[in-house]
Symmetry: C2
Subunit: 191 residues, 2 copies
Amino acid sequence: MKARLSAARERILDAALEIMAEHGYAGCSIAAVAHRAGLATGSVYSHFPAKARLFTEVFRVACQREVDAVSRAAAREASAGARIAAVIETFAGRALQSPRLAYALLAEPVDAGVDAERLRFRRAYAELIAGYVAAGVAGGELPPQDPDLSATALVGALGEAMVGPLAAGVAGPGTIPGLTAFAHRALGVST
Amino acid sequence: MKARLSAARERILDAALEIMAEHGYAGCSIAAVAHRAGLATGSVYSHFPAKARLFTEVFRVACQREVDAVSRAAAREASAGARIAAVIETFAGRALQSPRLAYALLAEPVDAGVDAERLRFRRAYAELIAGYVAAGVAGGELPPQDPDLSATALVGALGEAMVGPLAAGVAGPGTIPGLTAFAHRALGVST
DNA sequence: GGAAAGATTGAACAGTGGTTCACTTCTTGG
DNA sequence: CCAAGAAGTGAACCACTGTTCAATCTTTCC
């Protein structure tokens, strides 16, 4: 019984994420989510008290997955420059692979409560990158700078460079090297 | 009579912009705009066919004003480095002076039709900056790069660095020099 | 096997806010 | 001074969705 309950809960989360990846947050009415999860509309409310709560959880899971992937890729590298390159390749590669989801996570209009979760997402990215930058500065690989500001700006740069093309449907494969070069210059990675 | 008509239209646009600067797009119900313009709710529809149309125009005017201010400031400078610094100072200075408006123009959730205008706004900024970058590259002041990509990334960096603080209410005066340094490094302005 | 506990259903409800429209008020031209 | 017509009014309308809830079905356990 308990298993059945939590299984339904899981199915709802999965369904919501799938719809978001296909049709964005705009397509995520409670009715649509319930239908895809194989439940009635009202049943969603046995598992989540409100739509905003459901989607903060969806965002949390999806964002964590992204940050983890980027973090894992960067951890394989040793120098700050290589780590930043890994961050960009992973971030951009994943975004280009699931453009609709990336747009939803990064920029699509959502409920205010959910938007707060998105801010945390960007903050998490920024903190991850700030750590690499701080280490690079401490180790002399990077020139002195405010690691948090650099990281925040870099997150914005990545997001903008992705969302623009995503909205326009223009997926640029040549964008990733260009962005990496931009980021390396911006952080002062010695060539 | 014609004058009266266009005067009312103007009053509506002004009212909408004022409310947006005070309470953001969220506070811009048709009723609120009409009230501030000294009209009845329905009268708005003698001048604009729909809310989205009204606000695409509000956005167009407001964005143009921003881009013009930045463009004018940059035009006073000769080198690419000085121009970029002027762009950042003007952009950030104005954003910090009207934080609510800046947030609305840059990031607040809005109708889909209005969002398209916002994209044009960001694009206009990017094109402006891309021009300066291209000139800098052509003149040998900046290293070879894709001016459009660099400009897009820079717009994202500026936006993110502004919106974060705007949302958190943290207006950082030390942010502007830091951002300028970031941008100069990113574009390869020789120090 | 049966009854209590609880999950599920889906149609009805409610709040919001853009939009409409029958009516009033005002300007204009003869 | 008076139609004619345009502009203005604001309450009613409607569409859209998140949310609720009484009825129904499932599971569990004595």
